[in-house]
Symmetry: C2
Subunit: 748 residues, 2 copies
């Protein structure tokens, strides 16, 4: 009731004051622009996807307006009502602002204005959020991060109705809401604001965007370059264990743009966080492009933002789901809203890559700005081309010198191998040097666990990271790589891990039937060197491509090595016997082992151990060279997980004790299919008869794969020289091999 009369009053004031207001800047000019709006209005009714998006946005905003504005006193974690409501508010305010510009219907401006004044009334006296878990509490939300989200969106909403408001109204909002809000997330929370981290990116963008709307140069500078003297001590940790202040590190938006992106556009935290960060990166860069084009923020670091879009899209499976490198929630895909902006902006401000249009087509919605209009016009005009993902090697590190991530692909994503030899990935990194995951189309074959978190599901630890993220998901044994003496890489110490990275040895995706990536890691276990080589092959006697995996270990000490394969599916067959315990106990007590049940323990019955499973209607076989003294462990996640925070997924693990130098050589072979509808089982057996390490010394490693017809294919790697022009020769079992380049391969 009170609200209505205030609204009515404000409406009068607005009507009176607008004509008197002197415009120092044009509005909108942040994301929407005056000329952009004119162009959009001119095309209304002529561009199907744009019109459809406009209609659906209008429908949802109209429902919200009818529902009424609610700005509850903050109380809940993510997953709770107040969190949800404030998040809805900023999203709908931004949309309503766009509708106001496009449809020129005042009801949308009134909705935004009224909402902003409700916030203004509340914010003045608002204390920090009552939930105290965050290292940097917000006011509307439990962490400054979400408050920053709010400001990034609300800045856009404010810009769109700027001219609708009176100078007095603007002054009230700016003095009581926007400036204090910007100061709170920056000056009052430098530990949140002044880092190189996706959190800070959001903070920087938020401050910068409202600065641009208010034409406040100080805020813009603070956004671009951070807070000069933040008074923070060196060190300090956030909730994820990430270090807050690093000596000599730059800060602000440009630093955040410089550091986490490699020159190839790979974002060091991985695609899940890149997806999240792309929005503030692009939206503020675009705002700068519109308001301060001379600073060329959008083109910063040789167009790294646009390269980042390409890298991100390439880090997805055939269904568009991002590979869950580091902390990543499975199922997140390029269908998410922030990727709509990402794809639209990259198309419009980039090279108008027609392949992006096919993704926009799948997304089936566009931004309500000129970039969205442009995309929708391109689709209307039949310009879309399929987004073809090929093999790609992406460097990590500010200068591209800190390892990287490779994706080897065969065919039309029939098989995709994601091989990680990157840096730690900031606080969201996992201790998984030289790990990989394998995918057939959109299905996981050998999985990366991802994160242990139910994002925004309040009942599960407030929707935040669960403790099992640290005790399981980040651990080394949770990944498809080598664990030594049941320890984690770098002993699980972030301070060490964050200064190290693996190194690329070889990447070659130029040949049609074999692609190779190879990398080394010498820091994860001091005294032990790992050299892993993964080759994706399509041999003529095989129906499908497969992966050869060679992990060569050199160590100054005797160790126990664990080497797991987190297969997805149901066990079909193996060529070894094992004992099944009558009750299940944890495999260890720390470093992730406490979460693994041991379901079976066996010994190889042959030098070639085979293990088959059926997953998502397809058969797979692991064929691996084993020693008679190896242990073969069948494990399942779930021990010491009283709250059922982990999935009950299985693995086969090779355990090799008392070994110094050793080598693991395996093939993961997809074959055949099964349909419960036709009930026909096709090619359900492996085509491999034998896998043998036929040579292994400091200089060369050779593996022979014999298929069921007796045909033998030999892969030889030169371990010490990856030069493409180096000549090699090696005699194996009386036969002389000569070749040029880092590897030799015979597919007979």
């Amino acid at each position: 009731m009170n609200k209505i009369s205030v609204t009515a009053l404000l409406l009068m004031v607005t009507t009176l004051s607008t004509p008197l207001c002197v415009q120092s800047q044009e509005h909108p000019n942040l994301i929407m622009t005056k000329s952009g709006v004119e162009k959009i209005r001119k095309h209304l009714g002529q561009v199907p996807l744009f019109d459809a998006t406009l209609k659906s946005v209008k429908e949802e905003v109209d429902v919200e307006i009818a529902f009424g504005i609610d700005t509850p006193i903050p109380k809940d974690f993510s997953g709770g009502y107040t969190h949800f409501r404030h998040k809805q508010n900023f999203k709908f305010a931004q949309k309503a602002g766009a509708l106001y510009q496009i449809l020129q219907d005042d009801k949308y401006a009134v909705y935004v204005r009224d909402m902003l004044f409700q916030y203004e009334a509340m914010y003045k006296n608002l204390p920090a959020h009552p939930q105290k878990r965050s290292y940097a509490r917000g006011k509307l939300f439990w962490q400054c991060l979400n408050d920053s989200n709010w400001l990034v969106y609300m800045s856009q909403a404010y810009d769109t109705i700027y001219n609708f408001l009176s100078a007095a109204e603007r002054s009230t909002l700016e003095n009581n809401l926007f400036r204090p809000f910007a100061d709170y997330i920056s000056l009052e929370n430098p530990k949140f604001y002044n880092r190189v981290h996706n959190h800070s990116t959001w903070g920087n963008a938020a401050v910068g965007m409202i600065g641009l709307v208010m034409d406040d140069e100080e805020l813009i500078q603070r956004a671009l370059y951070g807070i000069t003297d933040d008074g923070l001590p060196v060190g300090g940790r956030d909730n994820d264990g990430g270090i807050i202040k690093v000596v000599g590190q730059k800060k602000g938006f440009l630093a955040n743009l410089d550091e986490p992106f490699s020159p190839d556009g790979y974002y060091t935290e991985g695609p899940y966080y890149q997806r999240y960060a792309m929005y503030p990166f692009l939206i503020f860069a675009l705002a700068m492009h519109n308001e301060r084009p001379e600073l060329k923020v959008l083109q910063h670091k040789e167009n790294v933002l646009l390269k980042g879009v390409n890298a991100l899209l390439n880090l997805s499976d055939a269904d568009g789901e991002f590979f869950p490198l580091n902390d990543g929630q499975k199922g997140m895909s390029y269908y998410t809203a922030s990727l709509v902006s990402t794809v639209n902006i990259a198309y419009h401000y980039g090279t108008k890559n027609p392949q992006l249009l096919s993704i926009a087509e799948k997304q089936n919605q566009v931004l309500l700005d000129v970039s969205g209009l442009d995309v929708a016009i391109g689709i209307r005009d039949g310009k879309a081309q399929p987004f073809t993902k090929k093999s790609i090697n992406l460097s990590d590190g500010i200068k591209g010198k800190q390892g990287g991530v490779s994706v080897l692909r065969y065919g039309n994503e029939e098989l995709s191998l994601v091989f990680k030899y990157a840096a730690q990935g900031l606080s969201h990194g996992h201790y998984d040097k030289l790990s990989y995951s394998l995918h057939e189309k959109g299905d996981e074959v050998i999985q990366d666990y991802g994160l242990a978190r139910f994002v925004n599901i309040g009942q599960k630890g407030g929707g935040n990271y669960l403790k099992e993220n640290k005790t399981w998901a980040k651990t080394t044994i949770a990944h498809n790589t080598l664990s030594q003496n049941t320890e984690m890489h770098f002993d699980g110490e972030y301070a060490t891990a964050s200064t190290k990275h693996s190194d690329l040895y070889l990447y070659d995706d130029t040949k049609p039937n074999i692609q190779v990536v190879s990398a080394t890691e010498v820091n994860a276990y001091p005294g032990t060197e790992m050299h892993r080589t993964m080759a994706m092959m399509k041999l003529k006697n095989f129906d499908k491509a497969f992966v050869l995996d060679i992990m060569k270990v050199t160590s100054t000490s005797k160790n126990q090595y664990d080497f797991p394969f987190y297969f997805i599916g149901q066990v079909i067959k193996m060529n070894f016997s094992y004992d099944s315990p009558s009750s299940l106990s944890a495999l260890g007590s720390a470093n992730g082992y406490q979460h693994l049940y041991l379901e079976g323990k066996g010994k190889p019955s042959s030098d070639t151990t085979q293990f088959s499973w059926l997953g998502n209607g397809k058969f797979y076989t692991l064929t691996t060279a084993t020693n008679p003294s190896d242990e073969l462990l069948l494990t399942r996640i779930g021990a010491n997980d009283p709250n059922f925070n982990l999935r009950r997924d299985a693995a086969l693990m090779i355990r090799r004790k008392e070994s110094g130098n050793t080598i693991f050589a395996s093939v993961i072979e997809p074959h055949g299919s099964y349909s419960p509808v036709s009930e026909s089982s096709v090619n359900s057996n492996s085509n491999i008869a034998e896998l043998e390490i036929v040579h292994d010394d400091e200089s060369y490693t050779a593996v022979a794969i014999k298929d069921l017809s007796g045909t033998v294919s030999v892969f030889i790697l030169a371990n010490l020289n990856a030069s493409a022009s180096q000549k090699h020769q090696l005699k194996i079992a009386g036969k002389l091999y000569r070749w040029t380049g880092a590897y030799h391969f015979t597919d007979k």
Copy 2:
């Protein structure tokens, strides 16, 4: 090489002899007919779905013809090559025969003829199949069942090329192959042939179909009425434990049509086996319709076959997958080939129900006969209407007096409850009286386990039933019903179970916001009576419909009751605490309990126990009235399963000890949703505050559901009189309720 010259020779003989041959019958006239073929040829090129099917069948048959004919010496179980090959052969022969008729290209007739003569050459001296597991070994396959499949298809193939062959060729095939084949699966295997069982249906149809083609009245009579004097002793068991000979039971095709189908068309073994049996039922009935229309086999038992099609289609979820009642493999759906014939034949020979066309449209293929043409024309002419599945109650038993199965549905299959109060279901039945499963659209909410078998996957027990089918899948504790003293219903004895059935108490699907099914079981545990009532409700304070479940138990003794809920998904929250064992052990040693791990054990902390999970992106909460002395067990399947034959699925189980009469009252409430793409969690909490049994005596049971707003809805069931006209009154907590009919419901 030899083959080619024989072929050439035969070709000459054919050419010479055909004009001399006297036709006693017209051919084809089994499934394809002369007039049908003429009609098809007249429409070629004018009916898109028929033309597309023809094109694709032609393509696959051409590939097979190019590949060459292989009729290997039988060796393998299902899942192995020889099994697969012979199965492919009969399927392709039948298709090639149809192509020959439609396209009139001799190469298809030659292919069928040559294949038949290869079989003729082999069959003469063929011993029984070398795999000895079956109670009735075939010759080409490990069981007579598959040999019968062969003959059902090959009869059609033979019929289509009958006139292409010379009399001498026909005589050779009939004397050396078809008649001995028919005799082998019938006279020599009466234990297979002379039962009421889907096996026998295939056998009967096979003998009858070849009899019709050969115009052999003796075989036709044997098909319709079985073997008069089979010399079998009463009793005997097949591989699944089913009884072979029952005193006084009829035999032959008509008996198989009479007995397993109820007057409503429910097939007592359940939809998975009905789907399998529909093909021989319909195809032989259709052949009889074409050849012996006066016997009205297709219309037998008041059109029970066509009613069966309707029943079968209604026993599927929103994705068309059949509910896995009894032994049923999950994923089997109406997209399977036998359902194409089923739907096409039911449309053409039935009432031309336009809703069947929408299923044919989804199947995207039709039969290459007049029924398929008719369906394709209907689709082309825009006659298809959505197949709308509503609630349905299907009686079981030859006269519909042996219990049944109900499916309650809300909305457009938003919620489907499958409640089973049927007879045992022959040898494929499970010991699961008054059990149920719950489905939201195509996703399982509370699952029925289905079978323990990897059909046609040779590596898993030859693709046959695994021993865990008996030790787990058939047991009572594997189902969502009451287990008493850790025993199975009927002590797991088929001989007893097969003579008993549950009884319907009440079925009412006439009201928009509440539907009720209620049934009783008095034989499963002698001395204990179960009366289960399940109501599907949509209350106005709730977003979605939910299910109220009341299991009233009356017993003359004190017992331990176990009452499980096999939820599908990840645990989100509960309102009770529990201990988690540090190692997992089996919950019991027999009756299925040996396969359950105990993952947690707790006590109710309130009279209203709640437990929530997230499955397939949707939230669910079980709310159940508990006693302070109840135990709440968190179980997971997988103990004593060394070969990983079982899925690691979870359940919450209420254990109530030392109880005689008792009652379990629960609500299973779907609510909200979660998307990993938007990461938004909607309505993730239950809307129920309290569930209370407010009255329970011999005559009446009443349950009150209080929602979070405090609104209370009361459901009262009259336990002793289900008459719709009976007047009742009952005072509960001082309030008088008056109503007419078996139940009262207030949704305030």
